[in-house]
């Protein structure tokens, strides 16, 4: 009754019995006390998966809109292929934008791993660690790399970069969309982008090129998540589903507060 539904962010649960985890032969089994660290709250996890779905839908439909390939024959009265592709694109875009708005709200209301300062390596120590994290991924003295509970500085930079790409996509998308209803709300709010970028075709170009930023990001992101999950064995993948991961209680973390 008094227990909160979720542990406070970063809080450690009492040690749980791990038992023998010697399922991976030749690898020393995890030992010692494991503790579950709660990192990503429910809204953030929902936002992650909704955005992932939206990005996939937007990229697929966007490529069709940019260069339509299927050719339906017959009477245009019966076919509405581009119409449907655009419909899905716009609905997914609307959902994506709403997710973005909630994310901005969550920059102020989220826990310390989710708030605005967590988006950048703001502290000097994080900035210095950046270099060692790069070495970690290059497998140069990886054991010396600092460990983070939340995002490490390199993750902060790349995820924040993707937020900026997403924002640019939204702005350029609305700039194009608004032209269908001149004088309307979206036109009034976003049409300045067209002359500012040097004409509507440049806006279209930027929107088109930035799609590739997502498509380059996705394999790297998925791979690094899988890799961390496989090597560190702390349930990294699970953390974006359950919200937390397990760490050994003896381990030291830079951002352990």
């Amino acid at each position: 009754m008094t227990a909160p539904s979720h542990p406070a962010p970063g809080a450690r649960r009492p040690p749980i019995e791990v038992g023998s985890l010697d399922y991976a032969r030749k690898v020393p089994p995890p030992s010692g006390d494991y503790q579950w660290i709660y990192l990503w709250e429910k809204p953030l996890r929902f936002m992650h998966w909704i955005a992932a779905l939206c990005i996939v839908l937007l990229a697929l439909t966007g490529f069709y809109i940019g260069r339509p390939y299927f050719v339906p024959a017959g009477d245009p009265g019966d076919a509405y292929l581009m119409g449907w592709f655009r419909f899905v694109h716009f609905v997914a875009a609307a959902l994506f934008v709403m997710t973005g708005i909630v994310r901005v709200y969550w920059l102020f209301m989220g826990n310390r791993f989710e708030r605005l300062p967590a988006l950048f390596p703001v502290r000097k120590r994080d900035f210095r660690n950046l270099f060692r994290i790069v070495k970690f991924y290059l497998m140069i003295e990886p054991e010396k790399a600092p460990k983070y509970l939340g995002h490490n500085p390199l993750q902060q930079l790349s995820y924040t970069g993707m937020y900026l790409v997403a924002a640019l996509m939204v702005v350029t998308g609305f700039a194009m969309y608004g032209q269908s209803n001149p004088g309307g709300l979206i036109y009034t709010a976003f049409n300045w982008v067209n002359p500012a970028m040097g004409g509507a075709p440049i806006v279209r170009f930027v929107h088109h090129v930035l799609t590739w930023a997502f498509l380059i990001f996705i394999p790297i992101h998925v791979y690094l998540a899988l890799r961390a999950d496989a090597l560190e064995r702390t349930g990294t993948i699970s953390s974006i589903i359950s919200g937390g991961r397990f760490v050994e209680s003896t381990e030291e973390f830079v951002d352990a507060e």
Binding site: V27, R67, V71, Y80, S180, G199, P201
Partner: protein, 381 residues
Amino acid sequence: MFYPTSHPWSTDQSLGDHLAERGVSRRDFLEFCGSMCAVLGISSTMLPKVAAQLEAIKRPSIIWLQLQECTGCVESVLRTAEPSIGDLVLDMVSLDYQHTLMAGAGEAVERAKADAMAANKGKYILVVTGSIPLEANGMYLTIGGRTGREILEEAARDAAAIVGVGACAHFGSVQAARPNPTGAVGINKIITDKPVVNIAGCPPIGDVVTATLVHFLTFGRLPEMDSEGRPLFAYGKRIHDQCTRRAHFDAGQYVEVFDDEAARKGWCLYKVGCKGPAVFSPCPIFQWNTRTSWPIGAGHPCIGCTEPYFWDTMTPFYGRLPNVAGFGIESKVDTIGAALALGATAGVAAHAAATGLYQLRHRKQAEAEAAAGSSTPTKEG
């Protein structure tokens, strides 16, 4: 409907009296006013008011400057859809200076222009076609020994309204395209203290020019304009949203090359570079050559001639994406994008392999150490 007359419209006569003198019936006049209302998007309940206003106007003076241009816009304006409208506005108004159409030449017409501007100070309408070259002190364009800039500034000073006709007058059109060797600029870059209407297009449709002039004569003010100075009655909507091929766009039916089956069927020109989705112009509605046809109707993609700096921003005319610093031909940008995405995937695969090797080496080391460590106590024990 209107014939040249030996009774020119005298300065103090109202338009109504003059038309009566020329034998134009009241009915014809109202019909003309009705067609102007339709073009300008004015409600037909306003018709009596428009007619009364227009009837009462005195003979306006128009000074038409042709600067750095090709005369195409003049040609277009002369072919306004209904001869009666063209006649009314261009024949009957006092076109005091228009060096292509004038019979006179040389010093005499320059003097006539100066006289007309002095006589109608603050009342004449200034129409400008063509841009103004600023490089080399404007020496790329001189008329009667004076530069385009001088001529424009002088004529604009006492004008009641300034109407820029054509892409040149506002954006410099082709001569202002990169690298713009003559430094051509539009009039709005030089005349900054007065509103300048931008009848955009290369060339614009003559009816739009006529309707804008009628609007000014009737209401005494310029029509409502968008952020580029284009009158909203004509440039308020995208081509794409008024296009006769739009059903094919929505259906997903596109012309791939200009002589394919789809082209014969009149499908959408999107994939052969149509800029209609980003172009504001009345082409689909007003059409060209007495409503005969219009570019997209005739099977050519829109090249966006009413948009700012279209030679730079709307090219390549037959491709969807602009050619940004040699980077944008769409096949190229998609090839590079796909290569990078595949490269990223290959990169992570290589990284995964490297990680595996690294793990293996360290595990062996650890096992060797463990073996060495465990062997020591056995020896001792």
